[in-house]
Amino acid sequence: MEEDTEHKLPPWTLPTVFVVLLLLLYLLPHKPTEAMEIHQAITEALRAGNNWGRQALVGNTDYPALQSLCLLVCEAVATPIRLSGPRLMCALTQAWMLTIFVRILLHTGHLKLAWLPILLSAVLPVIRDVLLSLDPNWIAAVPAAEILYHLVLWKETKNLRSMIVASACCGILCLCGLAGLFTGCATAILLYIIAKKDLAEQGSPTSGLRTLLWSTAAYSIFIWLLWNWLVMDDVFFGLRDLFARLPSISRKGFNLILITPNPLSVIILLFLAPLVILCLKSDKKEASQCLIVQVVLLLAVAALSRCIQIPATAVWPLVIVDILSTVTLASICTLPHKVSRETTLASLIIIILASFRIASSFTHGSIVALAPGGLPPREELTAFIDQFWPQSRTMLYGLKLPAAYPDPLEKRFVARLDFQQDDLLKQETDEQLHILIPPPNGKYYPKDNSPLADIYVNGRDWLILEKQWPSGCQLWRVVPPPQNESKLKFLQ
């Protein structure tokens, strides 16, 4: 019989757990990630009122708005008290996520197992490694964990509030990048199915549930599109980069990536097995169903991301949530007599240990990626330009490139999210400009269907290539020729 231990404990228990975890996690030696560097560049630009900051905040799916906004808030809180905003953000989100799992275990009367999520996070290499990454995408872990908690509550109380909060969490997840979007939308659909079935069994009315449980996710998508329209004058701007990359996917390539062993797929596939058992046999089958759907979608998003060379935003934090959720569900569920919970839990721990032994043979490059390489150092670039054009500024397009040369005041570098030829030529009439274009390898912009890739290969009649670095980076000078005097056109 489950009992509500949470309410028998002193009311300060969970806050204490949270604060202790927060302090510990803040003090851990986190490793910086590319995502954090880019989000920091975005927030720095936003604070400086830089236009690229606003564009980058909304106009992409790889470095989503919610992460940047939370980082902005954390930096605003942390800086006056001489703390690090990024570390505070990671510590807050990780501590919050772990506290939710502790809370689930306490709430369901498993006092002795309450330490399990924390212990697993500290001991198991993959969870520990991911926890140590200074990644703003940890923000996605909080709503994901809250969904599980509220599903557990719903199972017990059938209080509509649980479903409403879970649905709100789905809406928040939708703002956390592609992985969040897919899992958020799928979970919102599942919530509706679960709520409708349970309420119908009770004989309670179910009308309006669909509006109630789907509108948060729909609203999140709507405001993201609205922001795109407001900032970029294009409702679907944030998806353009993704759309431009999609044609490069072949089914064969996607399948190959899907089946190629990598830490993520190994872990995910290993965790599907216990989830399926939980889903079929336990009393927590609704939560297990949600997790199965999330796990499969995460696998697909991870494969897609690798396929089209975009970062697997928030995939790792969500996978960690799913691992901890599986363990938590296995700890609290009631299984048929023949299979005791202890046996399931023990086998699950064996699976976890085995999986991490396998996983440890892989490198975790996808978790902690350092700053983009292959670009000329800032000093070298400016020194080269200053030889002949000391007043010239360099245009940088996209997200990663401007983040590599942060200049919120636009003294030497002018950042733009999208390439607009007319604007560039108009600006060129006032000042001398250069453009830095990295090689079209899919890292900084899509290989195909991108004007930058086209410029890299074919140039333009108003551009002169001034230098190409060994890494392939090109520096072009903007020189619009007088009308009908283009040498390039003549040669063509």
């Binding site: 009122g49 509030r161 409403i164 009308s207 309006g208 109630l212 405001i223 407001l230």
Partner: protein, 483 residues
Amino acid sequence: MPQPPPNKICDLTTHDSSAPLSPRGFPQATLTLCAWQKWFLIGAVTALLLWAVFDYRSELLVVNFILTVFYLLTTLYRMLIIELALRKPREMSFTKAEISRPPNGKKWPKYMVILPMYKEGDVLPNLIRGLQKLDYPKDRLEIRLLIEEDDEETLAVADKLDLKPPFKVVRIPKSYPRTKPKACNVGIEDGDADYLVIYDAEDQTEPDQLKKAAHAFAKCPPNVACIQAKLGYYNPTFNLLTRCFTAEYATWFGLCLPGLDCLQAPIPLGGTSNHFRLNVLRQVGGWDEYNVTEDCDLGLRLFSQGWRTRILESTTWEQACPSVPYWIKQRSRWVKGYVQTYCIHTRDLLNFHRKLGFWNSLQFHLLIGGTFISQLVNPLYWIMTLLWLFVRPAGLDQFFPTSIFAMGSFCLFVGNFIFVYTSAIACVRRGVGELAKYSLLMPFYWMMMSIAAWKGFLQLFSNPHHWEKTKHFADPNATAKSS
């Protein structure tokens, strides 16, 4: 030993009073603004004008900052109320078994039902039929129809119906002011009952509401003077207006009032289905005859004198006004009344704050002041939002520096959604889930609310005591939902 409160609580007068205090001692709405309020208003307007002349940019920036903070607080307060209403519902509910016997095993308490009516003869037969279904011992019940003595139309219908006890027709003598609260005060003068409830002419109440209220009073501590039952509409699907109106009522009675109940905050009473301890009602002086939302005023007066109000899980079904012009009239009266009530209770501001304490005072300002201020100011921000979205005029940015922009964006993108979403939640919880999708249209409904608010606000200065009577339509198709 304290004297029992007198039964007689109002005088029949031949003229409107101009005294700021009621004969029963409480501040009444004869005076819209007291002296210091007038001077404060004049001073504030003058200062704003002068500031605008010298430096309108800094003025707009400061005003924008204040209004944005106000919106943010209102949004956060709304979130708190809704969260509490959902997390730990505190409405008093009773099972059929519980109300099958009198509270404390004694006799059922004496109950008085009052129904102020004016020119509502066409709905009277329906009303009587509904009241006859009330499940309460007839020897412990008195139902008073308060009809103005010159309302020949309603009196004629009442005579024709040949009403027998527990019904009683009380002719309200012609006296001033001629308002609903005046009729109520006269109507309860000679009554002998433990509890009293007021209903409107078109109300269709759940038959066991009186029993539930009697049990609620018995269960509550003695400082609970009022039990507010929930109100709902029986014609929600009549047209788009009634759908939105129903969604709004579902939010107010299904989420906001229970949330306020959780916070033990001052509760502005709804127009009907307020159950009172009759002696307490007389002790606090009954209703303010000059206030056009006398119910809201009474709720706050009870609170400021230490009495508390609780919410009862029982519904009275009313008719949602299906006509836009009549709806605007009704709403303008409500807003006018809220402004009146706000001004009355802040006449002695320091004493009021001392009585209520900081938190309750803040809630009063957010709830009563916040309601009409936001409705009046909203159009300004809608226009600015539309300009920002579609015209993007140069210079608008300077009034939205980072901090204001951040708060404003939160209110625009999150706050508005929360207000819309809570309507959807309320619809589902109140059993009118089919209206949840119409909650998405609430922003258009808010526009109408602002139009009505401005009408009411302007009328406050031109005709402060004019009572825009709610029109009740005798709709033969409207049927009350079964409880």
